[in-house]
Symmetry: D3
Subunit: 223 residues, 6 copies
């Protein structure tokens, strides 16, 4: 029941970096409006925009033992993803663990629980998206698992899936779909550029997207 | 049922700007402690302080079609106010819509739902007060209405009412009462100035407001 | 029932300042993982780190009268702690009360309710940890008590206890245990320094804390 | 600011009783899916199904004084509707007030706050829809208003509007639209009867509502 | 840090039974509107009305080990009170523990977390007031304490305090004040009886409590 | 993106019925404390205890179109499981859909959203576990999918997985593990029976489970 899966498949770094550059909203749309974690997942500081392969952690409430186990599994470019087995806002992670994770190339933490030492983490430039900020400590008494499928903040995440995170929240991309999603995202970004100019010039979405006819047909009345 | 009211009455720009300058807390007090939207309505960035005439939007959950319709109704100095017909935290609004709204003179958005692209919105200086930040996308399938009365975050808002918003939240002022509320707000600000100096000098509110007698009479005991 | 306790015992200033320097997470751990207020208590601005002796206030919902009474009881280095007698998010406190409190040496406010004028408070450098930001005003009609035991955000606080607050939240230290907790905190900080260097150098927590044996014994399997 | 509007217009009793008989879900649909109060408004016991003209109360948090004032305004067939001016879960109402309200023909209470003595109220057959059950008491110190427009649990309610409430929650019908909504509700009930028989016989909604073509056209694929 | 206090003082059984008979709302008022636990504490079935001396439990999130320890401390007429050290909705308690507690004379459980097997508990007549119903299991790995002061659902509770619980929620009475509170409660019940008759006869609270003058003086206007 | 998977694998009926008989708490423990849906999922009436193969539905917020599609996929013994693509409390399901589902042998509905007509559903004996009760209606405008993997109330569910539901909530069992989980559950039930008798006779869990030594060793002190 409590296992550590050691050799997980990861996606090509270029694809991951492309997804990071596209950002959460674009990636989410590009994969058919799927993959968002719950909106209560907020960054501890503004401005970070990252993507990485998920090292998943299933941990008991109030017990951060498995974080130490998971850190050994990190490779350059990974992101830690922790889901407690029941709702918990304890501060599972702080500056010491962040120091260790950074030393192994970790790009950030996504945790459906609490985090602490956020001033230090901000100073270190280690981004965290969490449900809570809390200094409430944890124990190291009960095992969980690493790199098993988890549900984190309402989204199913498997080890090696790509997590994309920025000021808008966190989105997960299935590993098998990463290349295709990136292509769709880049196409979308290009298309938006043209629209942005027209909108900035005062043209209306009603006209650009040719909506007036459909709206009228659906019964919209102007009074 | 799904209508767009086109010609709404607005308040004189000088009054609106006066209310913006007074700020939310003062305006709220000046109108007898009424009009606050729920405290979960938070700005996406600190420091914005605006007021504007409400263009109201009643929209289905997860459907942002009416935002395009509403933008056409905007005039310089307006604020968009969106209330979903049932609780929803989807990101109805992002940088493209903001570009369009700004091009028409819109001063901000108040939305009892989610918003996305907040880094871009911050960069553009387009302020939003929302219930959530979320990249979760919406569809354009079902109509709503524009410039009908709505309840937004617990407050009744009619098209043309004045929304005042700053770091303390959002307050609505009835259009018919705007001039009177501004007068009361300015009087209040003047009165506060004098009190502030006395309090800064170490005088106590207990003495300034002459509370000691009443407190004793009500039964307060010092032990 | 409604009393003001006037002469409370306080802790030595050096101990209080030591606790402030140690910070919330360390102090909380140093006293056996006790004393955290609920994680919904958030600072109105980032970066403040303070400690002070608690002047406690038990106030009715929507009534801030006792804040005026409490301010008279403040001495240099104190912190105001307000607990409403039932859940309330009204803005009990704003820039005028902050001016008055600062004039008496107050270091901050911890309030299980709302606060307003947060832009002014930020400018003044008066830190507040609160459940909500809200401009919703209060009345002055019903008495409460000052310097009686309260439960604030889930933690029991007595007048004279030390509140420690920073970006991670708020922690209470019993007055009688303050010296001992500070000693433990400083010991902990020293120990962490050594670990931080080793972790930064890439050593694993699994090895530093010698966890591999216990994990295996508990049944952790690597696959 | 604090007023009691005494002579409000009410709807014909037969219409009100017809709306009660139709029930909340049907009435809500019949008026174009409008008027629902928030889903956190729950009955204190199962099985009550009522409608009545609203006597509205705007009351401060934790202060139930205006309930006594409102009870004098009750007529046979009315429903009390209380909206606190800020979120509050205090028990504003218990068996004594219910005794008084029942003596004046009141059919129930809709309160966006707490209620107590629910065992007694259940025994008396006085239905209440509330946000909370709480014995936390209130004071009688600050005025509010009676029969002014309020927002209750997210819905705008004016004195004399019809409140319909059952196990599914609470819905408000504008007084001016009551007759028309009742007609639509009854038509809807009749139509549902026929559908119910066909569905019970195993026919599919896909066929009864002729949805297969549209679904295919929209792109639904069976795999 | 982890202790079991064995010999706690209890209140006379007759007083406890008197408080149970008076019920939560009356007891709460009789002690000056103090002592209510948060309104989210709800009974698993309607109709139970009990009081008992508190055996308090401070337990880690997701760990119910200390319940076994606490049960040994139970005497006839006690109530178990469990407060997790951080928010948790796990089902700490089910039918086996209830069987054990009942065998020792326990009258119920008050738990700021989850409970399970509620159909069995209902059948057994073992009442529980909890924050949640959840079958999510717990571990037995980390110690807590028994009969130490705790904060349970926002209220401070010491071992031996009296918990009163019914359909309106849960109230705590300090052991030292129990006799006095009972006397006040019984006086209150007697006074209510007279008022109830008058209200049932149609007399108004406005007249019984002689409120009209004060209301007018405060500025209430009838229009 | 919007598909209906038609031929899903189901588990043997005897295993499903065995899991229903074991109940949620036992099944959850038997599979290693996994599979619980969030504790906010509550039954609309007490006493139902069912299990069935999941027909999963991924639906947009406020749009119940796919329920009609899903009902065609039902076979005797199935349970409908609906997960909205973003948080929504609308009443997606009422008595007409229940009539249709029952006609096809459906045992119940598990929905991370709202349900309505609960009085009718109770009368019909059609059990529902939901996040909310709400009469707020939905549209039929946007497609979703049927029998794709979903996350429902925090748990990952695939079509054909077994949902077990009773008064304690809802638990999911992976189809491939169903037989093994049932065996473990039955073993657990047998073991509990013996313990129940000993506990009822007054024996302590401390002794039955031989905990005293470990507790002492961990440092528990009796004072």
């Amino acid at each position: 029941m409590t296992i550590v899966v050691q050799n997980i498949d990861r996606t090509d770094r270029a694809i991951i970096d492309g997804l990071a550059a596209a950002g959460v909203a674009t990636v989410h749309e590009a994969q058919g409006r799927r993959g968002m974690l719950a909106s209560y997942m907020r960054p501890i500081y503004a401005g970070a925009q990252v993507a990485g392969s998920a090292i998943t952690i299933s941990a008991p409430p109030g017990d951060n033992w498995m974080l130490h186990v998971a850190i050994e599994q990190l490779r350059e470019g990974d992101i830690l993803v922790l889901a407690p087995t029941s709702p918990c806002d304890n501060g599972y992670f702080g500056d010491l663990l962040a120091t260790s994770a950074m030393a192994r190339g970790c790009r950030g933490l996504v945790i459906d629980a609490g985090v602490r030492d956020i001033r230090d983490l901000t100073r270190m430039g280690f981004p965290v998206w969490s449900k809570a900020v809390s200094a409430q400590g944890t124990v190291k008494a009960t095992l969980g698992s690493v790199n098993v499928p988890v549900v984190c903040a309402g989204a199913a995440v498997e080890a090696g899936d790509i997590l994309v995170a920025d000021d808008d929240g966190v989105c997960v991309v299935k590993r098998a779909e990463a290349a295709e999603v990136l292509a769709a995202a880049e196409k979308r970004l290009a298309a938006e550029e043209a629209k942005r100019s027209r909108l900035a010039a005062g043209e209306l979405g009603l006209d650009i997207y040719d909506m007036r006819g459909t709206l009228e047909q659906k019964g919209l009345r102007y009074v």
